[in-house]
């Protein structure tokens, strides 16, 4: 049974066992200056050392004799360089003791061993350098501390070992590892000796070796080193490449290494390699491994940033203003109290919010008295920010499709004292029907989350092509609904901000580009002067040049979650499916009934599907396909291609009619022929042949299908699959 620990009784404790005390300069100095051992009390260690010192002065001469086998009288003055011998000695020590035995004259075997051990001990732990060792060192012109000598010994030993191992094994990858090791080892030695061998090359392992690697677990260190070397080679490709090896081989090795090292799936790594140059890619991946700093936003409805900062500092929080670009943001470095539970938090003076989430609201900048819609509001950070910018005037509609997450919106709105908000639970796509005519709309679309990998590492392995496309599809529908909910004639507004926490081009620039084509909107500057500009072109896609006004944010460059922000202004309330084609739409509508007519204007087809239900089916299918783009090759996606070949019968006819949005006139004659053939018989082959003829046709088909349907009827998944199977894909 122990004593009861009473915290109120404080027992004073003296210095512990290991506490050191300075007694004062004189006493310290006296230790150095006084040499004699007599009056001094020696500790056990110092006693041992003294003994050894005494022995060493005796021993070296005797030991050297037997080792070298000198028996003549020169031994007294003839002293060979000890350093090298001793290193050799130590190696020999390990190999065999028999040599000593043979050379042993007077001393017993045991004693010799002891001496050797002692000498070795000496090497490792000696405080003073033995007299003759000191002399010989100086004569060599190099001073090596005993530790350095021991290190060299060790190095030589280790360099011996792998070679012996390799000799035993027959596996290729051992050779490869040996190469790596040797390279590493060589590199180390090179740097130690300050001779960087520039012909040292990063050797690309052969395919067979790589296959074997899969079976052997390579340690992360080696992989990391290999990644670094690979990146180095790729950055200076012409100088550092191996002869006969293609860049693609290096890239594929890098890809698999990155997947292993950072735990991503192949798909995501390939996408990232398309987005970033190789060196930036490494930065991005590293940034995703660590958390972004915690940031809070002051609620100006209840307090000021200055006062809040003061109150939090009093509680023991270490913070700083977020940056020049924000007047309400604070970044928390560390805190002795939980930031999400302080009385200031509970009374609604601030909100925990990521720095990147400030940006879309700053871009939108809602004014007092306006009516604003937030289509994907949960958990309510942006909604409340908008409310504080509007000073609780006007009206905000906060909508989210997920009822559970809406609870947090309610909580946050009440906590922060927002009084002008209405919270509802609709699917965002229903919005213009429920209510429209908002001055401003914010759409923070649900996305794949590739920008917030640091928050959710599951994204690394959980996302694939289908997920991205599904998100993109949903986002396109949402952005159209959002645009339709804005009132273009609003005196103060007419703006929409579209943002995602993803860095994928399919979810960002592509969606905005789609909106530009489908509605009377244009991009305007976001008002955010930092961040990277959006892409105008990406791989085979080309976007509208105004996409430059959108902004991208990355974790490795702006130190905030990956984000994309685009601000659009609505020019007119009329809903065309595509802005330029409004005039032709009416004429095209009349033609839809007649099946075998070619339409003069490529663009006008979009309206047709509305008139007939059949077409709507097609349209829905096409919905799922990637959106049209001005130029090329959307069809390269396999899913898309399948859809292209769908048509049969009447549908084909429709497709023919709905041909093309692009202004390429040379397609028209092709289409004419196609239409006639389609009408003649409903074989796909004809269509195929035609398609072979020109890539454009495929593209047109896709576009048609895309344009065919508006958001209203969507074909369910089953129907789509049925159609697919009908078509025989």
């Amino acid at each position: 049974m122990g004593r009861k620990l009473d915290p109120t009784i404080k027992v004073k404790r003296g210095p512990g066992r290991k506490a050191r005390k300075q007694k004062g300069a004189e006493t310290e100095l006296s230790k150095f200056l006084v040499d004699d051992d007599g009056p001094k009390k020696l500790s056990s260690r110092s006693r041992k050392r003294a003994v050894k010192r005494a022995q060493v002065t005796k021993e070296p001469k005797q030991e050297e004799k037997p080792k070298k086998g000198f028996t003549d009288e020169n031994s007294k003055w003839l002293k060979p360089a000890p350093r090298k011998r001793k290193i050799e000695q130590s190696e020999e020590d390990e190999d065999s003791d028999s040599q000593w035995e043979e050379d042993d004259d007077e001393e017993g075997f045991d004693k010799k061993e002891m001496e050797e051990e002692e000498e070795e001990d000496d090497d490792d732990m000696v405080d003073d350098y033995g007299a003759d060792e000191g002399d010989e060192q100086d004569s060599d012109g190099e001073e090596l501390l005993p530790i350095e000598r021991a290190a060299r010994k060790q190095k030589k030993q280790t360099s011996k070992k792998p070679e012996s191992d390799d000799d035993d094994d027959d596996d290729d990858d051992d050779d490869e590892e040996k190469d790596d090791l040797k390279e590493d080892g060589e590199e180390e030695e090179d740097t130690v000796q300050a001779n960087i061998d520039e012909t040292e090359q990063f050797k690309l392992p052969a395919a067979a070796e790589r296959a074997k690697e899969g079976l052997l677990a390579m340690d992360l260190q080696t992989i990391h080193q290999r990644i670094r070397d690979n990146v180095d080679v790729l950055s200076h490709f012409s100088e550092k490449r191996e002869e006969g090896k293609e860049r693609s081989e290096y890239l594929s090795l890098l890809r698999s290494d990155l997947c292993t090292y950072y735990s991503y799936n192949e798909f995501l790594i390939s996408k990232l390699m398309d987005l970033f140059p190789v060196s930036e890619l490494i930065d991005f991946l590293e940034a995703n491994e660590i958390q972004r700093p915690v940031t809070i936003r002051t609620n100006t409805l209840k307090t000021r940033r200055r006062d809040l900062a003061q109150a939090l500092i009093n509680r023991g929080v270490n913070l700083d203003p977020l940056g020049k670009w924000s007047k309400v943001g604070l970044v928390i470095y560390d805190s002795s109290v939980p930031i999400g539970a302080t009385p200031e938090y509970l009374s609604g003076q601030y909100m925990l919010q990521g720095a990147s989430s400030f940006l879309p609201v700053m871009a939108l900048s809602p004014q007092e008295g306006e009516s604003v819609l937030d289509m994907s509001a949960a958990p309510g950070g942006k909604t409340t920010y908008m409310a504080q910018l509007m000073r609780n005037t006007g009206m905000i509609v906060a909508n989210d499709a997920n009822a559970d997450r809406l609870k947090s919106v309610v909580g946050n709105i009440h906590r922060l004292g927002v009084t002008n908000a209405v919270i509802c639970n609709y699917d965002g796509r229903q919005f213009p029907k429920v209510m429209g005519g908002f001055d401003r709309v914010l759409l923070d679309a649900p996305c794949s989350g590739t920008g917030v990998i640091s928050k959710d590492p599951g994204v690394k392995t959980g996302k694939d092509e289908a997920d991205i496309l599904r998100s993109a599809h949903l986002q396109k529908e949402l952005i159209l609904s959002a645009i339709d909910s804005v009132n273009a004639d609003s005196p103060t507004g007419g703006y929409l901000v579209y943002c995602t926490c993803s860095i994928m081009v399919e979810e960002n620039e592509w969606v905005v580009d789609y909106a530009l084509k489908k509605r009377n909107v244009k991009l305007v500057p976001t008002g955010l002067d930092f961040g990277k500009e959006g892409f105008i072109r990406f791989k085979e896609r080309r976007f509208h040049p105004s996409l430059k006004l959108s902004r991208r944010f990355y974790p490795h460059s702006q130190n905030m979650d990956g984000f994309f922000v685009a601000k659009l202004k609505k020019l007119s309330n009329a809903i065309p499916s595509a802005p330029r084609e409004r005039d032709e739409e009416e004429s095209s509508k009349t033609e839809t009934a007649a099946s075998s007519e070619q339409i003069q204007n490529p663009e006008s087809k979009q309206q047709k599907p509305n008139s007939t239900p059949e077409k709507s089916n097609m349209g829905q299918k096409q919905k799922l396909k990637p959106k049209k783009s001005e130029t090329p090759i959307i069809t390269k996606k396999t899913g898309v291609k399948a859809e292209n070949k769908k048509p049969d019968g009447a549908k084909k006819a429709k497709i023919a009619k709905l041909d093309g949005e692009t202004s390429k006139k040379n397609e028209k004659p092709d289409k004419m022929q196609k239409v006639k053939e389609l009408n003649g018989d409903s074989t796909k082959e004809v269509v195929m042949e035609k398609k072979e003829g020109s890539q454009f046709e495929k593209k047109n088909e896709m576009k048609r299908k895309n344009l065919l349907k508006n958001n209203t009827n969507r074909m369910g998944k089953n129907k789509f699959r049925k159609l697919k199977s009908m078509v025989g894909q």
Partner: protein
């Protein structure tokens, strides 16, 4: 969403007047517009009339919250005031209680206020009077009911309860789900 019936209005105003007395009319006639109470899913919401108009466009099952929720009516038609109403009670409160920094946390966890944690209390507080609880920095923490009159508070021993806890801002974390 529907307006409150007379009985419901009466019950609610009775409850409110426990805390803010006759200042209720200040809640309804405000300089920046007229506000009203509406009932939706047994909860009472306080909103301006502009918002009311827009909220009527939303269908009943999709509407989650409008303006500020003051509280809810129980199955037996009793009115329970919620913490979300604090922002409107605090400025008009007639009787206030200030809590020492040490027992602030305790109150935020849902405990009653003891004499040892009592900092200040308004004069002439009657027993069982509704009070609003503040921290020493004048931050409203919640509301409750006075267990003792001001005079008694001076005399009573440190471990006895002086304010019964009814709602506190810690509930935003503890019972986020029940706010709606």
């Amino acid at each position: 969403m529907r307006p409150l019936t007379d009985e419901e209005t009466k019950t609610m105003f009775e409850k409110l007047s426990k805390y803010i007395g006759e200042n209720i009319k200040l809640l309804i006639d405000r300089p920046d517009g007229s506000y009203c109470f509406r009932l939706h899913n047994d909860r009472v919401y306080y909103m301006s009339e502009k918002i009311l108009k827009l909220a009527t466009n939303i269908s009943r099952d999709k509407l989650v919250s409008v303006g500020t929720c003051f509280g809810k009516f129980t199955k037996t038609q009793k009115f329970r005031l919620q913490i979300t109403a604090l922002d409107f009670l605090a400025p008009y409160a007639k009787f206030k209680v200030w809590v020492k920094p040490g027992s602030e946390q305790s109150f935020l966890y849902g405990n009653h206020v003891m004499k040892s944690g009592l900092g200040r209390i308004t004069e002439n507080t009657a027993q069982y009077q509704g009070v609003v609880v503040y921290s020493m920095a004048d931050v409203p923490l919640g509301f409750g009911v006075a267990a003792k009159t001001t005079q008694e508070c001076r005399k009573v021993d440190p471990m006895s309860i002086v304010v019964f806890h009814q709602a506190d801002i810690g509930e935003y974390i503890r019972s986020e789900d029940t706010l709606t």
